[in-house]
Every structure is written in C-alpha cells, then in structure tokens.
Symmetry: C2
Subunit: 553 residues, 2 copies
C-alpha cells in the first residue's frame, strides 16, 4: 500500500486547513463527482445488503442481531454480529502494541486510506444513512458522506499534529560549569490509552461518529463501535472498510470492531464501565450522557448531549433574507439537528427592519409564511424535510400545538416513493416569555420540528434569557440578528462568557445549524450541551499519553 505517496499531501493540506481555518474539503459534495455509474452502483450495493447477514469475521461473535426499519418504511432485514465481550475486547487489545509502533504518521495515513475508501462508496453510504436516519437523500449524501468524511479527516489532522508536537527523540545536555555536562538521550513515544468506545446516534451516525472514531484510532487506540440500534448500517460499513484497510496495511483488523446489541440489551451501559474501555465518544440524550460522565470513571468521556438553541431577533437590514434563512434552518431534516434553532426571542414591541418596523405578530407571521412558502411544494418539502426519525419526535410534534398559540401548524406530507414515511412540516408556537409558566416549556429541549416564538420585553431581556439558557440548558448554536454595533457586542459578550458558538446576521446560503469541518467548531465544549468541540486540541490530546525513556548518553 503506497500510503505516503497517496495520502501525505492530503494530510499536509488538512494540517494547513486546521491552522488557517479557511475553506477546504477534499470530499466532493456533488453526487455527480463520483462517476457516472456511482449512483446506480451505490443503490445496488445498498440493496444487496438488505436481508443479509453482515459478517465481519470478528472474534467472539456469539449471536446475530439487528432490526433496523427505515424511517421511510422498509425493513432493512440485516443481521449483525453480537459480541462476547470477554473474547472480543482482549482480541482488540492484542493489536495495540503493533499499532503503537507504527507511529503517528503511519497511523494517520492508514486512517486517510480508510476515509478514502469510504469516500469512494459515498453513494452506498448515502442510502444507508438515509434509511436509518430519515434524512432526505441529498442531505444523507452530503452530511453522511463528504461532510462526515471531512470531520473524520479533521480529527486525524488534529491527532497527528498533537502527537508530533513532542519530538520522537531529544539529546539533552545540561552545562555543569567547568565539569562535563550532564547528558541524556531521550525518546518520546505516543501510546494509546486502551480501547475506545464509540456510542453512535440515530440521526447522524457517520457525521457524529467519525470524529471520535478517527481521533482515537489515529492516536493509537483500538475502537469498538456501538451503533444506535436504529442506525447500525452506516457504521457497520465503516467498520468493515476499516478492518479491510488495517489488515491490508499489515495491522490487526481487530483494532476496529462492531458491537451490536440485542433489543433492550443496553450494551452501552455494560461496555462503558468495563475496565478495558479507556475512552468514550457519545452523542445522544443528556440523561445518558450525564450518566456516562458520572459513571464511566475509568475512561475519558466526550459527550454531545442536548441543548436549547436560541436566535435573538433584535433588528435587521435584510428582513427578507433573515426570514428565508431562518425558514430553511427550521425545515432542514425536520428540525432534527442538535443545531436547529428552537427559541426565537422577539421583542413584544417589534423590531426595526429595512422593510419598516415589524410588530412581534408580524415577525412571527412572516416567519411562518416564509416556512410555508419554502415547503409549499410537496416535492421540495420532501427533499428538505426527510422523514421523522422515530415515534418520539412525532409525539413531541403532535403535543406542540397544545403548548401555546400555533403560528404555523404542522402539515402532513406524502412521500410518493415511500408512502409509509412520516413527513411533517415544522410547527411554530407563540409563547409569552413574561408568563412564568411558559419558561418550563421553552427552556426544555423539544427535539424535532417544533420552535417557539418567545415574546420578550426587550433585547436586554433577550440577552438575559440567552445567558440563562446557555448556562443552564446548554446550546450547540446561537443565532442573532441586529444592526446595532452595541447590541452585537453585548450578544458576543454573552456567548464568550457562556461559551456558545454564535452566527450573526445570516441571510444567505449559510445556516446557523450547519458547520463546516476544518473551519467551524461544532459545539464549544464549554456549556452543558457538550463537553467537547469538534474538533480542537482538547478533543485529541488526552486520547494518548507520551511515554519518555531516558538513558545516560
């Protein structure tokens, strides 16, 4: 395998990108970029997996399990290996020494080869992501393909950079006045910590999974992948590719393995406290994230949990652009992103815009109309909304109408290709922020296509509420619209104080809920929504340790 020739230039570009944080991506977003036969090949490959046993030739497989049903209706019918942990975990550890000896560069290049082979199969992955997450095809293609691969490569770049900050060897000579200097020869080896556990999520199995997977693998750790039971296939494919590449490159394929649980088994809880597990990456509910942080004491735990995302609406010089930008943010994947805005804080006296003063009711009405217009055509609505990922989301959506005055009711949309898909437009509910009983409503994450237009007394009131929301509930994103430099500064100060990522005055084709690898940080790691950011030094630096050996020279 010509790892260096093939991938070192890419690694260098990735290292440059994380240094400048300018735009860069090696993975094309356009389906057509993958070749003429790629769409049909990818679909065929996906279809060929259905109704089969997904064998990975892992040690310690004691059963077969799996029951994925696409949010679009069809059962996938795929069975995956169920692990005997007492066999699988020792087998995974066995490859660690060889992987350590390979060193940071070889590990990085092997990871890039894995990503490269995943990239070549992006169409197949897109169908796998679509039929597990409920994302529409184009989003599953982009977010589940190139964007996820970008995040994985970003993690490899950070991991490599962090490991080579310390030289492999140093000669140390300390002057002793007239006497001979003290001299030592020192070597520094980066050593992984142990088995890393990836606990995948339902909505973005690859995008949220790749950073931790590749950060851990690149820093010398075996990675055990425990997918969400509803979204196994994208990560099972990933594990298969990783094992193939590892074996071809002369390493133990068991450095990456899959653990799929039986229904109701709760294997993540068992795994999380196993002494062999030294690192955990998790995306999911706050309740289980908090449990992991409290109980998996033997491991480094990286969590992305829930938050309440806020948009402060103060004023704008592009009213129409603001509305269409926000309408898109609310609609994309039916609001089922951890970065989708939930609360719009709007002064009850209205706001100043380039289209004149707009009352609270007008702003909310215009936002509702903008969402309605965007999703008025069923074909476009299907392409934007995808399907509701699970019945819990539908339950919250159905309950939202009872929470306040409905400014925009949810509409049921039929997907002609998949008639069993549950497709719904977002609901917008009006709430009076001054009423004490509404606070419990909007200060709780309501994951899915539900947002609240909260009437506040003033923008000062918004900022106080924003601060409290981020501090107490956490936030993956904050958005704001203002034409006042003073207000802008005040919003920035809140975000700096409370560690929240801020998007200001977005009116074009970039949305508050989207972040780009190599440039944007996903989460801050500094508020309750997540204890880590994608991706920075802190995300990789504690996944390995530097062991020094010093010898008298």
């Amino acid at each position: 395998m010509q790892l260096t020739e093939t991938h070192r230039p890419t690694l260098d570009q990735a290292l440059e990108a994380i240094r400048t944080r300018a735009y860069w991506s090696p993975h094309p977003e356009h389906p057509k970029a993958y070749g003429e036969s790629a769409p049909a090949d990818g679909l065929a490959a996906f279809e060929a997996l259905r109704g089969t046993r997904f064998d990975l030739d892992q040690p310690g497989t004691d059963d077969w399990t799996g029951g994925e049903v696409s949010p679009y209706g069809p059962e996938l019918g795929i069975e995956y290996p169920h692990p005997d942990l007492d066999v699988l975990l020792p087998a995974m550890r066995a490859g660690m020494a060889g992987w350590r000896e390979a060193g940071p560069e070889t590990r990085a290049l092997v990871c890039l080869e894995i990503l490269s082979r995943i990239s070549a199969r992006t169409h197949e992955f897109a169908h796998a992501v679509m039929h597990t997450s409920g994302q529409a095809f184009m989003m599953a293609f982009q977010a589940g393909g190139p964007h996820a691969q970008d995040r994985g490569m970003e993690a490899v770049a950070y991991a490599y950079a962090e490991q080579v900050r310390t030289p492999a060897a140093a000669d140390w000579s300390k002057p002793q006045g007239k006497r001979d200097p003290l001299e030592l020869r020192k070597t520094f080896t980066t050593a992984g910590r142990g088995i890393s556990l990836l606990i995948g999520c339902n909505t973005f199995p690859t995008w949220n999974g790749y950073p931790g997977l590749f950060a851990s693998l690149a820093t010398g750790n075996p990675v055990l992948v425990k997918p969400h039971p509803r979204a196994v296939l994208p990560l099972a494919l990933t594990v298969r590719v990783a094992r193939e590449v590892l074996a071809e490159a002369g390493f133990d394929p068991n450095l990456v393995a899959l653990a799929v649980e039986r229904p109701g088994e709760g294997i993540a809880k068992t795994l999380a406290v196993r002494p062999e597990i030294k690192i955990i990456d998790y995306t999911g509910s706050t309740a289980f994230g908090d449990w992991l942080e409290a109980n998996a004491r033997q491991a480094q735990v990286y969590t992305e949990k829930a938050g309440v995302n806020t948009v402060v609406v103060d004023s704008t010089d592009n009213y129409k652009g603001m509305l269409s930008n926000l309408a898109f943010s609310l609609s994309l994947y039916s609001g089922q992103m951890c970065t989708t805005p939930q609360n719009f804080l709007i002064p009850r006296d209205g706001i100043t815009t380039d289209a004149g003063h707009k009352s609270y009711d007008e702003v909310v009405g215009d936002l509702a109309a903008s969402v309605g217009g965007l999703l008025g055509d069923d074909a476009r609505a299907n392409a934007l909304l995808g399907a509701l990922v699970n019945p819990d989301v539908k339950g919250r959506l159905d309950g939202a109408a009872g929470l306040g005055e409905v400014a925009l009711p949810s509409r049921k949309i039929t997907n002609p290709e998949f008639p069993n898909a549950v497709v719904r437009t977002p609901v917008i509910v009006k709430l009076d922020g001054a009423k004490p009983d509404t606070e419990a409503v909007y200060l709780t994450e309501c994951f899915g296509p539900v947002s609240f237009a909260v009437a506040v007394d003033s923008t000062a009131d918004s900022l106080e509420l924003l601060r409290r929301t981020v501090r107490d509930q956490g936030a993956m994103t904050v958005g704001a619209y203002t034409t006042s430099a003073e207000t802008e500064r005040a919003i920035e100060d809140v975000c700096l104080d409370e560690s929240a990522q801020l998007s200001l005055n977005l009116t074009g084709g970039v949305y508050v809920n989207q972040t780009a690898a190599f440039s944007d940080f996903h989460g801050s790691g500094g508020n309750p929504a997540a204890n880590a950011a994608l991706c920075d030094g802190a995300f990789v630096s504690n996944r390995f340790r530097v062991v020094e050996v010093r010898r008298q020279a």
Copy 2:
C-alpha cells in the same frame, strides 16, 4: 510595562524548548547568580515576614488565620487572610472579561513578568520553601526557585502555543460553481472556563503549584490558591507578586487570590464543588484526589496522587555508579519526593555486574553501604536530607523496621543550626517477593525515607510485578538497570503499555527522581499516580474553550 520587549524573546525560546525538548532554563540554579547581596537580602526579607499579618488587600477577608511551624522547629507566626467565598469568588470573576480581551500573547507576557519578579526574589522564596517543606536550603533554593519557575514558564509556553493554534480570525469562502461563493468572516476567541482552584501540597508548594497556576492564568482563568496549611508562605508570596503585576499591567488584581483555611476547616472540599470553580489542580493523597475526581464534576480536575515507584535491577556494567546513583535518589529530601524509588526488584539469585556476580544480599548490602557512606558525614547528610516534613512521615519511618529484615537502619542526625529539626537517614527493608503476605507491604505507597529490597525469582518476575504495580498502584517513575538489549526492550514495553516514565541505567549526576522542565515529563497522566503530566498539550487544552463568531461577509 514593556512586556513585549522584555519577555517576548523568552517566550519564543520557551516555545522552541518545548518543541525540541532539549536542555533549556532561563532561571539560574546557582545562588551566587542572583547578586552579591541577594543571600542576605533574601534571608532578611523572609525574617521580616515572620510574626506579621500577610495582607493582600483581597475583597471578602473575614478573618485572619495561619499556624505554620517550620519542620526545622521555629514557628513562622504569620497570619493570612481567610476568605468569605461569597464575596471573593464574584470579585475574582469580575476581572475575567478584561483578561480574556487581553488575548493569549499579553496574558503569556504578564505571566512571564510575574515569574521574572518571583525569580528576582528566589533567595526569599528559598527560605519560605525550606521552612514549610523541610527541604534543605540548597534543594529549597533550586527546586522551589528556578526549577519551579521553569515549570511555570513551561506551562505558559504550552498554554500560549495551544491558544494560538486557532487563528484569531479567518475568511471563509466556499465555491458554489457558477454562483457566487458563500463567504463568511469568522473570529475565534479563547475564553477561560471560570475560576481555577490550586490545591497546594506540603512538600513542593511552588514546584507542584506553578504549572497549574500559570496554565490556568495564561488561558484566561482567575486562579484561587488554596495552599496546604503547613506550606502557605511560598504560595502567599506568589499570589502577592501576581496581584502586583496584574494591577500594574492594568488588570484586576483579584484574578489571583489566596484562600487560607482555619485549622480543620477543610475548605478545599467546600471550594471544590462550588459552581464557580471550573478547574482544579491538586497534588496530594490518593484518597482526596480520588474524591475530587469523583465529586468536583463541574470542574476539569488535574491530580497528582500517590504511586509506588519501582527500580528493576537486572544487571549493570557500572555497579559502583548504579549504587551511588541510587543512594543519592534515596537520600535526597529524605525520600519525600513523589518520584523517589520505593521498591527495588532484585533477583534472589543475584545479578551480573562489571564487578562480578553479586548475590541479592550483596546488592542490598552494597546499596545500604553506599547510602551509609553518602550520609556518613552529618553536615553532608543535613544538606541532602533536609528535615522530615511532618509527624506522619516519622511515624511510617519508625514503623518500617517492623516490616521485614532491616538492611540499613535509619539514623538520627542532629542539625546544629536547627536542633528541633527531625532529621533521619533512610531505612532499607528486605522483603521476599514470593511470600504472599509481603505484597500488601510493598504494593502500598510508604511515603518517606523507606524503601524495600524485594527478592524476586527472576527479571521476568520483576517485569510482571512492575506491570502490576504500575497498573494497580500507579507510578511517577520507573528505573531500571540492565545490560541486556532484550531485557531493556521488555522493560520499555511494560512502561509503554502501562504509561510509566522510565529512566534506564542512570549512573551519573541525573537521578530517577528528578525531571527537568521543558524536556522531561513529570508523570505520564496514564496510570493511577496522576491523571495529568507536566507539561503537555492535554494539561492546557481544556482550560479554555474557543468561541467562534461568524458573520456574513
């Protein structure tokens, strides 16, 4: 204050040193390097502090407390401010925004100015460290002065390097085919996490305290210093200097403050779970370190706890050098270093040396004789041993003779200058590693001048025991002597697997218990003795978060 002109070249040198890990120190080790009057001035300054109230002009001082008694006998008689936390903590937070706005470079340079003023007063600090830790003067001077300052500067360098890995701003332009590119202007600000708590230790108040203190301050956090009740003065002086420099540089002096507790108050436990405390640095007992890790869940917790340090004795081509090197390691500061060897694993059939085969009894006897010779002269013994830091150490020493056959009894030494000092030479106890009841003895840390010569069946046996010791008990250091390349490799593998720092075949003027800032890692952070290493990226990267603000361009 000409911060840039004065300190930027030093910062650049420090950055280069952590990149190469070659020898470097800007702080002279020789007492004479500080000027002719420095020794007398330093002593006078120390004496002038005795019997006074150490006022820091901190907000929220509700009482005065302090009861330090020098391990050399004299009471210091100094009273320190006792904090009303509900006043002091908010006052400390108030300075955070201004400190954040200063940016990474200014923060680093202010930290270097603090270190520079501490350096100028090294003689005064030496007496303060000596009369709180019990270190002999020369060690208090070097370890408490230049070596501690080096470690502080190393932390500043890591903190600065970590923060500037992300640029302050980036222009992002994403091509859109024939359409205009998407463009965003992004800013990235490093923001501290909140108040950082330093819980100081008795034996090395400055050396173990400065890394955390300066890492947190340089990354934008206020630092509250909670010294060990027996070792307040060195850190109180540090806080005073820091507050002076901060105020002169135009920042809030309350960014650094002191919290001294009343006898038995246990203020560390109260502070550790306050919501304002976001970072904790701790050096001390395993029990309290484990408590902090389990309970201070709102904070990033960096601990250095206890370990059992092992020396594997397999063979040597410099028997005399090995013996004298080990004798010095055992004697320095009466073995009261977290890095002092405790267990010598020696094959019961003896070892091969350049002076012929040596039986287990001969090796132990020769080591005992070497220690005896080194400490035979009382003046030199006093200069090496210092005083026992507290009655607990003396208790363990007194009890050691009952643990096995004594190869070298402890000897009481009189210090003519300080007749009340408790000065003792180390004890060496022989144990049979094969006897099950001895394991509980040598696999427990026995902090102080007590070491065990453990007879093992073979070097293979040593390695198995070494692995188990590091894995279960932790280790700050591992030493080994071998002339076999194969054995050397096997020892390295154990240390790489279990994340322990290894010194091989030291026979000259470098000792297993000494590490040099900018080059050696102190601890690995990967075994139970400590969850962090001094100093690496992981030690600084989670003390701040990067907050991004992106605006449509």
